[in-house]
């Protein structure tokens, strides 16, 4: 197994342990910026995308993930490994801490996009729930700022929707 950095990532440790223990197939995942992660097949299959490739026998040379950076992939694998190996209550505690460390919205968005790309539904659900929690109670402009979205309504359009929302649906 090779890794582009000298330090072994937590994902690697867990992956090594899992793979060694079960003597299962190891899949090499390669991030878009060249970092490599060895992952046991049972964890790798938690990604719908990788799972299909394993089934189609296309993983021999490793799997290139053009959309996902190394540091993001590391976080995704941290989640998947923990989910694979933990009891329910332990995982619940882990999840709370995991998302707390993704306080930076860019970090959270990276994980959401990676989970979407990789079809890791559980992680996608949890990450989207986290995003939904973070916009609860926010005003419109605050939500725009949070997601970096530019308002493309005309003032008249915006006023009409605002009025309908307040008068009919509030």
């Amino acid at each position: 197994m090779s890794s582009s950095s000298d330090e072994k990532k937590p994902a690697d440790d867990a992956a090594d342990a899992a793979a060694a223990a079960e003597d299962e197939q190891v899949v090499m995942l390669r991030s878009c910026d060249g970092e490599e992660f060895a992952v046991g097949a049972s964890v790798a299959k938690m990604s719908g995308m990788v799972s299909n490739m394993i089934d189609d026998d296309c993983v021999d040379g490793g799997v290139q993930l053009p959309m996902v950076k190394g540091h993001v992939l590391a976080r995704v694998l941290e989640y998947l490994n923990k989910k694979h190996g933990s009891a329910a209550e332990e995982f619940t505690n882990f999840k709370a801490e995991f998302f707390a460390t993704l306080a930076d919205r860019e970090a959270l968005f990276d994980v959401i996009l990676a989970a979407n790309f990789l079809h890791t539904q559980d992680l996608l659900d949890d990450a989207c729930q986290c995003a939904a929690d973070r916009i609860r109670g926010k005003k419109v402009q605050e939500i725009r700022d949070y997601f970096g979205i530019v308002n493309d309504f005309t003032p008249e359009e915006e006023e009409e929707i605002r009025k309908e929302n307040a008068w009919a649906f509030d």
């Binding site: 005003k139 419109v140 309504f153 915006e158 309908e164 008068w167």
Partner: protein
């Protein structure tokens, strides 16, 4: 700048339930407006006349759950005449055409006919949930069509506080066989016999029942047998405690056991004709109860109430009659540390000499129940000192409704109005959203409300205030006010017109037996085309066009105005003039 593919935005939206948040999200940008509107499953319409049903469907084509509210709140006090409106049929009709996948329909204070129920029964193949709160206009025949046709998936039939015409009890036989999906069945409001055999058979074939509220004519032995067969039951509204109770000496043990084995029972109500000794059967479940409604049990004495309440240490919600007395409330205060909501209603039948309920009871509660946030308190007297103490003990009220029975009652200790007391409440509870006033009150109380009640959304006023200023203080001050309802108070045209800038940001205004004139209402209506101004005048002689000045000077008995994007309504009866 983040770029999320549409399906990711949809995923995030799937976790956003609150309509406030969804309304904000719909305004983010054009793409999000469309993603949100195609994703909204649960739609809430707080005023059936504020928007047309067709518009609701056109904006939210994938709606699965619709909640619509009709008559204004004062309809509960019979102030809205029969025939005023709030018919459910146009809404159900629109759903039948545009939304065959509808699963849930919740209506409040609307008129629902049997024809309407028939349409519900035949139009929605996946229908799961029908909740009719304070509705009227239907009969048990309508219930029969629902039970018969909404068969496979029906999980919830809840008729909370509705008025149902009795046309036989056949409807209980109509639920599907061999089994139903029922989780909630509430027919406590039904006046009329039910077929006990049919009811028992229904419960037997409803293995998922979690909430069952019986009416007062279900005999006790029937209830006991059913309780033994519903191990998952969390919420029970009992039937009669008299009919079927003395049916045999051996009866008591099975009943005790049935309650004792109900490990999931958390909520109890009913107790229609129960007296003290009957309550022993529920002692075993008291320690698990979070919700207890004894407001239909006028025969129970304070001492017996105390015995039960002492054991209900996990209680979060308690509804009782004022026969609990101050002593009973002191026991609540010392036993129920988790209490969040208390409602004390007036006992309508004076069976025992009235146990004293004064301001002391509420002071004790405010001091002992630190989580209390919702109060509805009917009483004979209240003092400023008590209200000030309550305000100090309890800064976290979200809803505070005080109903001193005699209008315009002064503080019995000082003879003063209760302005200072209510002023203390609004100053201390910064999160107060709902407030009902009573007692002797001058314009000062409204000054305080305008100054301090920043989060107030709903205010109910009766027999209060001296001049127009009272109403003006509230309209100018309470920026978050949504509903204002006033009766028998001396506010006139100047106050009404002062609110012109406010009515488009409020849901509605009700004024009855005040000092407003037809001329004032016409003036208001002329300047506010997007507000429906309804003058309700049953029994009044028709407007004589000839003498306009005399007409305009006529006092308006009932005014109801509300903002709307639906325009003037086409179904107003003869006694309603939409100006």
């Amino acid at each position: 700048m983040a770029y999320f593919p549409e399906e990711v935005v949809e995923q995030i939206l799937g976790f956003v339930k609150s309509h406030h948040d969804r309304n904000a999200i719909s305004l983010v940008c054009r793409a999000w407006y469309h993603i949100e509107r195609l994703n909204r499953g649960s739609v809430l319409v707080n005023n059936c006349y504020a928007v047309r049903p067709e518009r609701v469907h056109s904006r939210f084509p994938r709606m699965r759950s619709l909640t619509v509210k009709g008559k204004p709140h004062f309809a509960d006090f019979n102030l809205v005449p029969a025939g005023w409106g709030a018919m459910a049929l146009p809404w159900v009709d629109a759903c039948a055409r545009a939304c065959p996948g509808l699963e849930e329909l919740r209506l409040k204070r609307m008129v629902v006919t049997d024809e309407c129920l028939k349409l519900v029964a035949h139009s929605f193949a996946n229908f799961k949930s029908l909740v009719l709160v304070s509705c009227e206009g239907f009969s048990t025949l309508g219930l029969a069509t629902i039970a018969t046709n909404c068969s496979v998936f029906l999980k919830e039939l809840d008729l909370e506080e509705s008025v149902v015409k009795y046309r036989g009890h056949h409807w209980l036989n109509c639920f599907p066989k061999p089994s139903t999906s029922l989780e909630t069945l509430n027919f406590a409001c039904l006046a009329g016999e039910v077929n006990a055999h049919a009811l028992e058979k229904l419960v037997e074939r409803s293995p998922n029942l979690k909430s069952l509220r019986l009416n007062r004519l279900v005999p006790f032995d029937v209830m006991a047998r059913m309780l033994a067969r519903t191990p998952k039951l969390e919420d029970l509204g009992t039937g009669s405690f008299i009919q079927g109770f003395n049916a045999g000496v051996g009866l008591h043990l099975p009943v005790f056991n049935a309650f004792r084995r109900s490990r999931s029972l958390k909520s109890l109500s009913g107790f229609w004709d129960a007296a003290g000794l009957h309550f022993q059967v529920i002692y075993s479940v008291c320690k698990n109860l979070t919700c207890l409604n004894l407001s239909y049990a006028p025969f129970i004495q304070s001492a017996d109430l105390i015995n039960i309440i002492r054991q209900c240490t996990k209680l979060r919600t308690l509804w009782v009659l004022d026969n609990i007395g101050d002593e009973g409330l002191k026991v609540v205060a010392s036993s129920c540390a988790e209490l969040e909501e208390l409602r004390v209603f007036p006992a309508r039948t004076a069976v025992h000499p009235r146990t004293a309920l004064t301001e002391e009871g509420l002071v004790a509660i405010s001091s002992g129940c630190r989580k209390l946030n919702t109060v509805l308190y009917f009483c004979e007297r209240m003092t400023n000192a008590a209200l000030i103490a309550i305000a100090k003990n309890c800064p976290q009220f979200t809803s505070f409704r005080l109903c001193i029975m005699e209008p315009r009652s002064a503080d019995p200790m000082t003879g003063q109005p209760l302005d200072e007391g209510f002023g203390a409440i609004v100053q201390s509870s910064k999160g107060l959203r709902r407030l009902s006033l009573s007692g002797l009150l001058t314009d000062n109380v409204f000054l305080y409300i305008g100054m301090y009640a920043e989060k107030l959304e709903m205010l109910s006023v009766a027999f209060a205030g001296d001049t127009d200023n009272g109403m003006i203080y509230v309209l100018n001050g309470c920026k978050n006010l949504k509903k204002l309802e006033i009766r028998d108070s001396p506010f006139g045209d100047a106050a009404l017109l002062a609110g012109m800038q406010r009515y488009e940001s409020m849901r509605s205004l009700w004024m009855s037996s005040c000092n407003i004139t037809l001329g004032g209402c016409k003036s208001l209506a002329a300047s506010m085309p997007s507000v429906n101004v309804e003058v309700i005048d049953e029994g009044a002689s028709s407007i004589d066009e000839a003498d306009e000045d005399a007409n305009n000077a006529r006092k308006v008995r009932k005014l109801y105005l509300y903002r709307t994007i639906a325009g003037p309504r086409g179904d107003a009866p003869g006694f309603v003039s939409v100006l």
